[in-house]
Amino acid sequence: MSDPLSELNPVTERRAIRVLRPDSPSEAVSLARRFKVPYMAGGTWLQPTHERDQCWPEKLVALNAAWPAFRGLEDDSRGLTVGALTSLSEMARHPLVREYLPPLALFLNRVAGPGVRALGTVGGNLAVGGDLSALAMALDVRVDVLNRTGERTLPLSRWLRERASDDLLRGFTIPDCRGWRISLEKLGYRERFSPTRATLVCVHDGDRVRLAVCGEGGLLRLVAPETFVNDRADLASGDVGAVIDRELAAHGWQDAHLRMALRRMTTGLLSEVALGT
């Protein structure tokens, strides 16, 4: 696969970057498509990346949180809809999060640092496979995406497989998960403000258990372990470990020790959701 930047004319200095500020989401899409340049939301991932290699896209398409439905949380019969440009700290503070995703507010303390959470967006976090992506994957969220062909709503997993560089994420909808048992855990390099080595999410929707992971080996819905667990009565069974290990290894999780940690973390989270604590 060729480097997406290779067709462009990258620049070495910030002062040479042009920041395009479209008036509307559709204009943003057409600019991104026309110039083959990335969107900028909070900029907390994009800037460190380019500051590191001192090689910037010559243009950035700035997204605007004031565009309708791009920011904030709302619930209706479909579930909880989150605007992609909602900051991580807004999300952590929001009363609807306490209602729908009780453990999330505290968990977000472990995502980046406070200043970065004030700038960084939930959409950006999803798009780069950050901590929230495992949660979104386990909850089967549907994303609301705009591109040149119009807008569509589709499952996150499908979007991640198919997405085009000009796809613009407006938000995502979490199904009504009130009453579900949700457990999540992050393994980083230190207690706070660490890139994730592995973030694991375990959800019990009242009927079935869902498992997803993101981190060093990439975002993954743990389908086989789910099947294994859901088809057995004993959720805390230790045997699920081998299934998890195979699944992770088959999907790019190379570090055997990290897989070992994930096996055990999964067993721990499974017993939490099984016990309802």
Binding site: Q47, A112, A118, L119, R192
Partner: protein
């Protein structure tokens, strides 16, 4: 990949924002960091380039009241905003409270990271005033300090927490 080694600067933009109560209005390239503007024409010294990638907290400032790393904010994003730094907050009573706690508990040694720490704490106290539950130790989790081992800072936070729960 071919790198354009002599980039032409793109057209500067006019950016106006409020810095510590003064209006700053200047022409600047839109992707310039707020940190560079502050340390340049803003003549601010309290915000410091410790990493330039938002991972050390030494450039923490209040942007519309929220503590953010100034190195991750671009010039075009601050138009119309209010920016407060340790210099501008020095007269505020909550900053004074933070300053006294930090000084009394010897929460600093070299002091290079300290203005950023103080700004994060002020932001935390203000969120508490707004009724949010904020753990002040979490509010400074993004401020790295290499001298103190955070012992004095933990003690200063204990003092601040005690004071704020009394009021």
């Amino acid at each position: 990949m071919t790198r354009q080694t002599q980039p032409e600067p793109c057209a500067p933009e006019h950016v106006t924002f409020e810095l510590n109560g003064d209006v700053i209005s200047q022409w600047v390239s839109p992707a310039t960091t707020l940190l560079d503007i502050l340390r340049g024409s803003g003549r601010i010294t309290s915000a410091r380039a410790g990493c330039r990638i938002g991972r050390c907290g030494a450039c923490t400032v209040l942007l519309n009241g929220q503590a953010v790393p100034g190195c991750l904010v671009m010039a075009w994003q601050v138009s119309g905003c209010t920016v407060e730094t340790a210099e501008g907050l020095a007269e505020a009573s909550d900053f004074a409270q933070v300053r006294d706690a930090l000084a009394t508990e010897s929460a600093l040694q070299c002091g290079y990271c300290t203005p950023g720490v103080a700004v994060s704490l002020v932001s935390g106290l203000r969120q508490q005033q707004n009724g949010d539950v904020v753990d002040l130790e979490e509010a400074v989790a993004g401020n790295l300090c290499r001298c103190t081992g955070y012992g004095g800072l933990k003690r200063a936070i204990a003092v601040l927490t005690e004071t704020s729960s009394e009021t």
